[in-house]
């Protein structure tokens, strides 16, 4: 299986100067990249950690609810546990889609410009 990118060249890329980095960090373009990364990743992290903790707390303190049988020997606890699997897969997919659509093009543009030197 191949990745999308060619292997990195052995020679060093031109590393921009400290001033260039500082300038880019202050730029509107980078600000937008940072915002679209943070405003997606941070709330989502809080959300899945909260959802996971809710599950842990329910396991601890809501025994009757978790033990309720839905069908056969399948109870709420098992279904909620499996739901954690499902949400993990979904979030991974969702983040990757967001990154490919919203983050990669911006990051690539900045990187190309900085390494190309100007």
């Amino acid at each position: 299986m191949a990745t999308d990118a060619p292997p990195p060249s052995k020679e060093q890329h031109r590393l921009p100067s400290t001033e260039e980095f500082a300038e880019v960090q202050q730029s509107a373009e980078f600000g937008e990249l940072r915002r679209s990364f943070r405003s997606f990743a941070f709330p989502l992290t809080i959300a899945f950690v909260a959802w996971y903790l809710l599950y842990v707390l329910l396991s601890n303190y809501a025994g009757d609810f978790m033990g309720a049988r839905l069908f056969g020997n399948i109870n709420v606890a098992l279904v909620l546990g499996l739901a954690q699997f499902v949400t993990t897969f979904l979030i991974a997919w969702w983040y990757s889609r967001h990154a490919a659509a919203k983050l990669d093009p911006k990051a690539e543009a900045i990187k190309t410009r900085m390494e190309g030197g100007a």
């Binding site: 990195p8 396991s59 025994g63 991974a92």
Partner: protein, 542 residues
């Protein structure tokens, strides 16, 4: 001699009748992986080869290797055992170990790949004073890895006592020593390239073996999962409670807190495990790092789903007594399940037992190699090259230091391995997760995302998290004051929880914040600009 002991001895006898088969399977794996190692060693020329496998692996290859690095004896032997004994409570491990990957995916993998070179210390020290922060990062890398190694060594001892009927301490120590020597060879000769290939082979074997057993278990119950669970509940003697949370942790308020503590440690630990983090350096860029995490989430998720079949299957088909008498923490439930599903007195049962044991052995070797590589690279790159030699060491000298560190760490873990053999392997790994989440994760997140973070903050969060996590473990029932403790005959356990995460993780975060707000030096804003732009764009990434 009671029934259970008879059965276990039978297992050992069956195994010993087929000892040539078992030994050949082990030998095939060892010879094949040594071949890979020698081949990889020939291609290992510079430091980027040794530490990062030349950064040429594809996202899929790395995803497979990440899975091989992550699904340890804890997952395979430990979780199956925990479910087999405690039912549903054991399943928490599977869930926590998986959900944790989202932290790595969303917050850590890509920025780390973009801004580091070889070790976790590269990122932590990026904008800080190099020597103190690298010393701290190296220390915590080695401590976390040794905790984790301990668990793998315990797993190796368990396997061998079951398989070869060796119960003597000398026999167990011999096998632990063999594992130690192999890992020294893999890592010092093959470097990251060799280790990566060993992990890929192991991941395929582990998934294959688990699929086979899962299929056979489900076949026995006509693919009716409800039936499987029902039989497990009945056979466990605990009824419906076996399928509900609470059997292991529900007894008292303290044990419930322990459950929360474990849950937090699991979900926050993964993204702070150095042996996992350095795997992201083996791919060409951050996009490939992201894709390898996605592959890993798929593979690991599938595997953890199958732990339901392994654990409840063992509970359904084997008596509780036999599981517990074979190993007090249930660590042998998976191999025992293989034996029972094939038929206890049949050759087929023995073949399955041998196969699954060989898979477990491969699992242990691959993880142990990854851990050794992480700690020896951190020693060589962070401590030797950047602290002792102040950045003046040549690549050759650095690699030589890494090889010597490998030998040293191998010897240390052989020595420690013998102490931990009766603890549940999954529980031991959870401690490594707690230490990683307390010392490493806060520092990584602050370094990447908090502009004001300073050297003092980094040192306080690493050492604060590390000392409190390890200290609380030392005074917990894991080490003393419990029949299953490392030192059961003494009692200096004043901390009631087995997992320190609920205290030590917030403490690590708090110390990072406190150290920063109280520090007299100004943060290096220029370096932060560099780190932030690099971490999000990959500019200047190696």
């Amino acid at each position: 001699m009671n029934l259970a002991t008879t059965a276990t001895t039978l297992a050992a006898n069956e195994a010993s009748q087929h000892r040539p088969l078992i030994i050949s399977l082990f030998a095939v794996f060892v010879v094949a992986t040594l071949g890979i190692t020698v081949w990889a060693g020939r291609q290992t020329k510079d430091a980027a080869d040794f530490y990062a496998g030349g950064r040429q692996f594809s996202a899929f290859q790395n995803g497979l290797a990440v899975s091989g690095d992550y699904m340890s004896a804890a997952s395979f032997l430990g979780i199956a055992g925990a479910i087999a004994i405690f039912g549903y409570d054991g399943f928490l491990y599977s869930i926590g170990f998986l959900v944790a990957w989202l932290v790595a995916l969303l917050l850590v993998a890509e920025p780390l790949r973009n801004s580091g070179r070889y070790t976790m210390g590269d990122v932590l020290a990026y904008r800080m004073r190099q020597r103190p922060v690298r010393t701290a990062a190296g220390t915590s890398t080695i401590v976390v890895s040794i905790f984790y190694l301990l668990a793998q060594m315990a797993g190796a001892g368990v396997l061998v006592s079951l398989l070869l009927g060796i119960t003597s301490d000398a026999g167990k120590i011999l096998i632990v020593a063999l594992v130690g020597v192999l890992m020294i060879v893999y890592v010092s000769i093959g470097g990251m390239k060799g280790t990566t290939w060993v992990q890929m082979v192991k991941a395929v074997l582990l998934i294959g073996g688990t699929l086979l057993i899962t299929f056979l278990v489900l076949l026995k119950f006509d693919f009716n999962i409800s039936d499987l669970l029902g039989t497990a509940a009945e056979n466990s003697g605990k009824g419906a409670a076996f399928l509900e949370p609470g059997l292991q942790y529900g007894a008292t308020g303290t044990s419930k807190l322990d459950f929360i503590s474990l849950g937090i440690a699991l979900v926050l630990g993964t993204a702070g495990l150095p042996h996992i983090l350095i795997r992201f350096y083996t791919v060409p860029n951050a996009k490939a790092a992201r894709k390898s995490v996605n592959w890993a989430i798929g593979i690991i998720g599938a595997f953890y789903l199958m732990t339901i079949a392994l654990g409840f299957g063992a509970a359904a088909l084997i008596s509780q007594k036999e599981i517990i008498e074979s190993n007090p923490s249930g660590n042998t439930a998976a191999p025992l399940l293989a034996l029972h599903i094939g038929g206890v007195d049949s050759a087929w049962g023995a073949i399955l037992l041998a196969t699954i044991s060989a898979v477990a052995f491969a699992t242990i070797l691959a993880v142990v190699a990854g851990l050794t590589l992480a700690s020896s690279s951190s020693f060589a790159h962070d401590i030797y090259a950047n602290v002792i030699r102040r950045g003046q060491a040549t690549e050759k000298e650095e690699m030589r230091a890494a090889r010597w560190a490998t030998v040293f760490i191998g010897v240390v873990s052989i020595a420690l391995g013998a102490l931990a053999r009766d603890l549940n392997v999954a529980g031991l790994v959870a401690l490594a997760f707690a230490v990683a989440a307390s010392a490493n994760l806060p520092t990584i997140l602050y370094s990447l995302f908090w502009k004001r973070f300073t050297t003092q903050g980094a040192l306080w969060s690493i050492y604060g998290g590390l000392i409190v996590a390890v200290g609380l473990v030392l005074f917990s029932p894991v080490v003393s004051g419990d029949p299953k403790a490392m030192f059961p005959d003494v009692d200096f356990a004043w901390f009631p929880l087995k997992n320190p995460g609920i205290i030590s993780i917030p403490f690590g975060f708090l110390m990072g914040w406190l150290g920063t707000t109280l520090s007299k030096e100004e943060p290096d804003t220029g370096k932060y600009a560099e780190l932030e732009v690099r971490s999000l764009t990959g500019t200047g990434a190696h």
